[in-house]
Symmetry: C2
Subunit: 110 residues, 2 copies
């Protein structure tokens, strides 16, 4: 409650970076992407479905991700996402953007 308000705003714009980073190591499906982000951040980031799925669709529509449906033997079908060359370039851009942003913040808040 109390602290969540600030965080919610800081999170804005980070989802594509987190998603593309996770997908750098291989193909994954949506639900799994959420889990990996949660694990990797030590529980700090847990993008809700209401923000993750739209982000995936947006990245796919922009040509950064390529997706395919595949059946699972133990549950609903899954949509697997793979990073494209264009997505690689976008990831690089996001990484640079984040780095310079974090650097400027460190300088400003010091």
């Amino acid at each position: 409650m109390g602290s969540g308000k600030i965080r919610g705003q800081l999170l804005k714009g980070t989802t594509p970076l987190l998603v593309l980073t996770i997908l750098r190591n291989g193909e994954l499906y949506g639900y799994e992407i959420a889990q990996r982000i949660r694990e990797r951040s030590g529980g700090a980031f847990a993008p809700s479905e209401g923000s993750l799925y739209p982000a995936l669709h947006s990245l796919e529509a922009g040509g950064a991700l390529q997706a395919t449906w595949r059946d699972s033997d133990k549950g609903p079908r899954r949509r697997y996402y793979k990073i494209t060359p264009k997505g690689g370039a976008l990831l690089a851009e996001h990484e640079q953007e984040w780095t310079s942003f974090a650097t400027a913040m460190a300088r400003s808040v010091a």
Copy 2:
């Protein structure tokens, strides 16, 4: 232009932290706050008036800042802002929030 889109989102939620940090060293008026933020960030952050003034009003309304009008001998009147004890607490909260956020990002993007 090219990179501005991502940045605009990353900036969300950082204005109160930047403002409170700048005001930690003393009383300043709005226009000056903008300049200081610009200088201190090396030009990386230049909050527009459309976001700075509402942020100041919001902080004042929340009791984090105390403001007074004062005339200037060389231009329009100025509204000076001073940080309150409550603002100090809010600053601490924002700092902590930012630190844990930046740490989690570093871990996630590494």
